[in-house]
Symmetry: C2
């Protein structure tokens, strides 16, 4: 019989083109620096052409030509003369430089922190944070639910305040991360270490060889996404820095405080929290659903990211609008989405079935258990034991009087007679005999533990008892691997 079904196979090339969205003519979106703060070179989706994809594929081709003979900078060792080429300076300024300036003003005491500004900054942190988690992430990247335009507008504006790039760029990278988790194409490849997945991926020049594409036609179909991407730099400056500064100036008469704490330092905090999802959430915590890949559940990361820390669940059930399913797990983003659905701003909330979720848990637990089981001594497998008939058993018993039959299996209990918790006499009385009934309740209903101890003493199978032995082994979870005993 042939290995594979003879039914026509799916055309993989064609399907991969579909998956990358390369079949679609995207609407024209003029570049507005929306990929600021991303590895622009890695998941570039800006274009000047009518079709996003045509432009990208052409650029891929150009780069291929360029690096045919020459090595890309990411493949070269760091030297005194080339180190500055390894670094993505724009990202360095946005995620390290500006925060340093802010921290200088804060810690030097030049801009003192007032209580009102602090409270405002925390409030504004939440606005920007939830816009990323409920908007950028669960709504746009994963289509875990649908949102009406006022909600989407809110997310687009305050999401920009977190300075993590445009929805379009963010969603594209994120879909690639999910499709290629833990591979060279994963932008934040967690296998490359904590630092790389935290900030390294974005501060260094990525290797264009490992570029990936994902279909984001549904994003560019949304006028809010297009608008935000086009005017990203303006919207970002406004929502991230100017608005908080002006609000603090108006209400608390503290423009500088608003700029430093409500702007720069708040942005720094939310950026770091988000980066933690790529680093810590792939590094620290439990793997209740699947441990073949790096994502992990961790309440600490959940705490700073409004519930995104249940990352093992999330990678397993990415289109679920929830990241946490237990009542005691912290997932305010889920509550926010659910709340929005109650007032009609969100709808079509998606959930994986409870059945599928429970299956994942059971499968992972089984895996862990099998691993534990494989480290223990369960006694010689029946298939590796010789088969004795009654005469052989009698003969062997004469040479070694310490033999006892239980459930069709011969055991050598010689070394156990003085150890037997039920006393020497009883075991002695069973030597050379079949003690199946006595062992199983006729005298004493032995525990599981006793069965396990017994199994370590196996020496043979009795011919007349092979069926009993096989049934007994099956009840114990031992597999005969399709082999017959005789």
């Amino acid at each position: 019989m042939s290995e594979t079904s003879k039914v026509e196979q799916v055309d993989l090339v064609q399907a991969n083109i579909l998956a990358a969205g390369a079949n679609k003519k995207s609407v024209r979106v003029v570049n507005g620096l929306g990929s600021l703060m991303g590895s622009k070179n890695m998941v570039d989706v800006d274009f000047e052409e009518d079709s996003n994809m045509d432009y990208l594929l052409r650029k891929d081709q150009e780069e291929k030509e360029k690096y045919k003979n020459a090595k890309h900078i990411s493949e070269m060792p760091w030297t005194l003369s080339n180190w500055h080429l390894h670094i993505n300076w724009l990202n360095m300024i946005l995620t390290v430089g500006i925060p340093l300036v802010g921290l200088y003003f804060a810690f030097s005491g030049k801009v003192p922190l007032h209580k009102n500004v602090l409270l405002f900054s925390i409030f504004y942190y939440v606005l920007g944070g939830v816009s990323i988690t409920a908007g950028y992430h669960r709504l746009w990247s994963h289509r875990a639910y649908s949102g009406r335009w006022p909600l989407r507008l809110f997310f687009a504006f305050f999401g920009a305040a977190s300075v993590e790039g445009s929805i379009k760029w963010w969603g594209h990278s994120h879909r690639i991360h999910h499709r290629y988790t833990d591979t060279v194409r994963d932008p934040y490849d967690a296998r490359r270490g904590l630092w790389f997945s935290h900030m390294g991926w974005m501060l260094l020049q990525p290797n264009p060889k490992y570029r990936a594409r994902a279909d984001i036609a549904d994003l560019t179909d949304d006028w809010i996404v297009r608008f935000q991407h086009r005017h990203y730099i303006l919207i970002m400056l406004l929502s991230a820095f100017i608005l908080p500064a002006c609000l603090c100036s108006y209400f608390f008469n503290d423009f500088k405080g608003g700029l430093i704490y409500g702007g720069i330092i708040r942005v720094f905090a939310i950026q770091q929290a988000t980066f933690c999802i790529n680093s810590l959430a792939h590094y620290l915590g439990d793997q209740p659903f699947d441990d073949r890949r790096t994502p992990r559940d961790n309440w600490i990361t959940a705490l700073v990211t409004f519930g995104e820390g249940y990352h093992n669940f999330h990678h397993e059930f990415p289109t679920d609008y929830r990241n946490a399913i237990k009542w005691y797990q912290y997932d305010p983003t889920k509550v926010f989405i659910y709340g929005s659905s109650l007032i009609g701003l969100a709808f079509n909330l998606k959930k994986f079935s409870q059945n599928a979720i429970q299956q994942g848990l059971v499968q992972q637990q089984q895996k862990k258990l099998d691993r534990k089981r494989s480290h223990l001594n369960w006694g010689t497998p029946l298939t590796q034991l010789p088969v004795w008939d009654k005469e052989e058993f009698k003969k062997q018993s004469k040479e070694n009087p310490g033999l006892v039959v239980v459930s069709g299996i011969v055991h050598d209990v010689s070394g156990y007679i003085t150890e037997h918790p039920g006393g020497e006499a009883l075991l002695q009385a069973a030597l050379g005999k079949d003690a199946t009934k006595a062992f199983n309740g006729g005298v004493y209903l032995h525990s599981n533990a006793a069965h396990n101890v017994l199994a370590t003493m196996r020496v043979a199978v009795v011919k007349e008892g092979v069926d009993a032995a096989a049934r007994f082994a099956a009840r114990r979870g031992e597999s005969l691997e399709g082999k017959k005993l005789v």
Copy 2:
């Protein structure tokens, strides 16, 4: 082939006689009220004959005759005229009456509690408690280790201070409890409810029909056990009441306080704590090793009984000198025994192998997991699916275009196309085709969850792919139960 091996069976009658110790002529031990505070009628080991067993068997016989026609009181309903016959008045006085007197003196303020007496009482509680747990229980009842005579003397004297009967009586009941756990012969049968297993069993007249015997020849072989049993009433009065009263009188000038707090109330406390092992420890807590019987692990019971609360472990591994094996579990009795072994007072400490202990954990976890698994929908088992050849698949595809083959199995994804997290287009492109490769990494390496969702859509097996299907099912833990697919 016959069910049972033809090897000679162990003689069950003979073996049960051995197990009850009925083959032995015990040394003569004159009754000294040592079974005080036990269900004397149930596990009576007093005798006036040369042989313990002859006497007991004769009494069994007498009782059998007596209740041949008449019902025993325990089988009769409670009435106004017979209620007092249901009750074991001696035990009632010892475990309820005297404590009530003590509590009266304490709460009425007639005997005030001084700090020194309190501290002494706690100290004395520990002496008596450890003598029960390390001595009565682990040393004598379970032979979990051996002890030199000074240690045994210590246990025999201070064990009597807890007023729980003689070692001989206690050990006998306890061995019966382990041999017949959760049966009518279990003196503290936990299935009869919390109250019965706590004190009911001892305050009521037990049914002699369910009397059991256990071999305690090793106990009567110990002169300390014989001596303590012979002079139990004296030793008990001395160690439980007179000594603490005198010590408190001598050191703190408080004879009455010593008698009430160091004697009566302390005894009441230790009795109740011990009773908790029969009641709470069979009722409240986890069952990490075996859930076929009632014993449970519980740190609360462990706390008041010097570590005896890990009762699920204990019933599974009764001859282990430990009751708790994790470092964070509270088992000071284990530490006491280990300490005694360091100074040579204890030796031959027995442990079950770590292998056997881990096996118990794994087996119980497997049981729980299987239970969870059986409540979930894993898709139609392969053996219940029709087998289609390629032509049949083509024909069926014409009628229902929503069919996709993955791993030799036909799935009807009609209802899932718009739901597919990877987009409609990709699924659409797979209709009527074999998507095995695309599904398994060719386009996207689907998660476990995706495989589980897929399984719920099964409709048939492709003839050319039965092998692939069987292998796939095996990897998923589905058993074909020895059936062939074609």
